[in-house]
């Protein structure tokens, strides 16, 4: 049973509740304020910046985290990063950037820290009652809002594989999010499991710091360097989108050819998907470390056995530290799964246009996509659309209803088509198509109403 400090919920009228004060939450607050909404933003931690803030007790940052997408493709569209920053800013610069964003637009005064939302429930049709649970002991409060935007991200619940014999393993087993300090690898024999961006970065970290580094990867990926053809790789590839499609395929192929051949030379499995289907690996150092032998590659882990780890190809190693860079599970705990379209066996939300709740029109989720490009701009345009829509809904319900139909038809394109390879795959969208869809949604919203 919940205990409430007062019987009646405090009514915040048309105000909007934003859950999470990370990058997505901050952008949502700013865009809502710009559209004239009162906003209460709840953050369970005591700092802003979400996953970018190492002071956040749940922060998943690992040593030397840098952006994998370049500055021009990652910055918030209406608040660019300083142009004297490097092409690939570090996690601490990213945090600095988010803090500047918050103070520039005066967002801090709308954030309630140390307040976790334990429950969200629709009431009176399209309004919401939320239960705020303060971190420090005191009783939960109930408030009512006109709308709720969930911006909690999807890098909080580690996806932990379990291998036979893992419990009896004598070495240390860590998830990548627990590896706060690179010195834990120094002089050790390290096994890194997982071929995503975090696994690759940590393997490179271990290649220079650890005594020995073995990297277990179970399938083929696209290995891209951070620079291609003299330009940041994501920018170079995005630029090709301006070309006609027949030429684009040829040029893209030419740009990627060298690296594809190199990874084949390193004995890596060819990827079974196009480079836009899933976030590619973006790390220029990895293939060189494999090439000079400081990273030894192995297939999937078969079992743990005392002090040994055996792989599916029959080889074994005796690592001191095993780092599981196996990613995260998207999980939204505060909201009844049905509201987000979670049905049946799938644990994944089915949202309209990847942001609107299929059930209640005033519930939306920001940033629950893996676009393969910088996520911040995507979140900016999502929350731009969401706040515009809420604004129109207030003044012109008829237009709002027409808009709703368009979103439903747009979202048909982004139906979750799970390939089942990896949990995070299910959040992947083709950035080009998704942005075009968002553009159509925003255009509809910004059209002058027909009088």
């Amino acid at each position: 049973m919940q205990e409430y400090s007062s019987q009646a919920a405090y009514d915040r009228g048309e105000a909007v509740c934003v859950i999470g004060a990370g990058a997505a939450g901050l952008i949502a607050v700013k865009n809502l304020r710009e559209n004239g909404f009162e906003v209460d933003c709840y953050e369970r931690d005591t700092v802003l910046g979400g996953l970018w803030n190492p002071e956040n007790q749940h922060s998943p940052l690992y040593p030397n985290t840098h952006l994998v997408t370049s500055r021009s493709q990652t910055e918030i569209p209406d608040f660019p990063m300083p142009d004297d920053w490097p092409d690939y800013p570090s996690a601490s610069q990213m945090l600095d950037y988010l803090k500047r964003y918050a103070s520039h637009f005066g967002l801090a005064e709308h954030i309630w820290y140390g307040s976790e939302i334990s429950h969200v429930e629709p009431v009176e049709g399209s309004r919401f009652e939320v239960v705020v649970k303060p971190a420090a002991g005191s009783a939960a409060r109930r408030l009512r809002y006109g709308a709720v935007i969930i911006a909690t991200g999807h890098h909080w619940v580690p996806n932990l594989p379990s291998y036979p014999g893992q419990d009896g393993f004598r070495g240390t087993v860590l998830h990548s999010s627990q590896l706060k300090d690179g010195s834990r690898l120094r002089g050790k024999s390290v096994l890194v499991v997982g071929g995503g961006n975090s696994g690759i970065d940590i393997a490179c970290e271990a290649a220079v710091n650890a005594a020995e580094c073995v990297h277990s990867v179970r399938r083929g990926y696209w290995y891209l360097p951070k620079y291609l053809g003299g330009e940041p790789a994501d920018y170079a590839l995005a630029r090709l989108r301006r070309r006609p499609s027949w030429l684009r395929g040829f040029l893209t192929d030419r740009l990627l050819k060298g690296h594809r051949e190199l990874s084949a030379r390193m004995g890596m499995e060819a990827p079974d998907h196009r480079h836009t289907d899933e976030e590619p690996i973006r790390n220029g150092r990895y293939l060189e470390h494999v090439g000079d032998g400081s990273i030894r590659r192995r297939p999937d882990v078969a079992r743990f056995d005392g002090g040994e780890v055996a792989f599916t190809d029959g080889t074994t190693v005796r690592p001191d530290v095993v780092v599981l860079a196996t990613g995260y599970k998207p999980k939204i705990a505060c909201c009844p799964p049905g509201l987000l379209g979670v049905e049946g066996d799938s644990a994944h939300p089915k949202l309209l246009a990847r942001m609107f709740s299929p059930r209640v029109e005033t519930l939306a989720v920001a940033g629950l996509v893996e676009p393969g490009v910088g996520t911040l701009p995507i979140v900016h345009w999502q929350t731009h659309a969401i706040s515009h829509w809420l604004h129109i809904r207030k003044g012109d319900p008829e237009r709002a209803a027409n808009f709703r139909q368009q979103v439903v038809s747009e979202s048909a394109q982004y139906a979750v088509d799970s390939t089942g390879i990896s949990p995070r795959h299910q959040l992947a969208v083709d950035a080009e198509e998704y942005l075009a869809g968002l553009g159509r949604i925003i255009d509809t919203l910004e059209q002058e109403p027909v009088k």
Binding site: P80, P82, R100, H104, G106, Y235, A238, R241, L435, I442
Partner: protein, 209 residues
């Protein structure tokens, strides 16, 4: 800024980074006048098309703006004042203005004078300015892009220009009635009408509507 404009911009090279000259006067810097620092008031960022750049605002503007309790800044875009020249046209200059704006402590009012008004108009389509002030605008695009964040817009033109086609086009584009001031465009920094014009702008900024 529309999404499409942003997508186009992320696919062209970013203008070269330059070390920009930025002149700042904060209310607390003023020793001779009693200025009340208003933390709620938006900072003001000025630019002009004249080659002096930020220096043009030092004689009168910055002090007077700071005197009204606002953080006052002026920027020299590439090739002006002490900012080195670098390649790039109006887009690059608008980029300089946006970069100066994001360096300010809070959401800023953009003030553009002469050709600087065109840069300010472009910058306001990429950065949500607190307000946009176009003083004697010159060479503004025919269809200026829609400012983001819906800022209020003030258009100030000199008397001789008030009836010109250019002033008319800008009036229509932004849907605001122009404010006229005596004298010619070059007088806004020092001429007899300068103080009056500046005070009108500041009182317009302070107005809540």
């Amino acid at each position: 800024m529309s999404l499409q404009a942003w997508v186009r911009r992320t696919r062209v090279p970013e203008p070269a980074s330059v070390r920009r000259e930025i002149a700042v006067v904060e209310p607390a810097d003023l020793l001779d006048v009693e200025a009340k620092d208003d933390p709620e008031a938006s900072p003001v960022l000025c630019c002009t098309g004249e080659s002096a750049g930020a220096a043009a605002f030092s004689a009168l503007w910055l002090k007077r703006i700071a005197g009204s309790g606002r953080y006052a800044a002026a920027v020299s875009v590439r090739g002006q004042g002490n900012t080195p020249a670098a390649p790039g046209g109006v887009e690059a200059r608008a980029h300089d203005l946006v970069q100066a704006a994001i360096g300010l402590p809070r959401q800023a009012v953009l003030v553009g004078h002469g050709a600087g008004a065109a840069w300010a108009a472009l910058a306001a389509a990429r950065y949500p300015a607190a307000a946009l002030v176009l003083v004697a605008p010159h060479k503004l695009p025919k269809q200026p892009p829609k400012p983001v964040g819906d800022p209020k817009v003030l258009l100030a033109v000199d008397e001789s220009d008030a009836q010109s086609k250019e002033a008319q086009a800008i009036t229509d584009a932004y849907g605001v009635a122009p404010l006229t001031f005596p004298g010619v465009s070059g007088d806004v920094f020092t001429g007899p009408g300068a103080e009056g014009l500046l005070d009108t702008i500041l009182s317009w900024l302070g107005r809540r509507d």
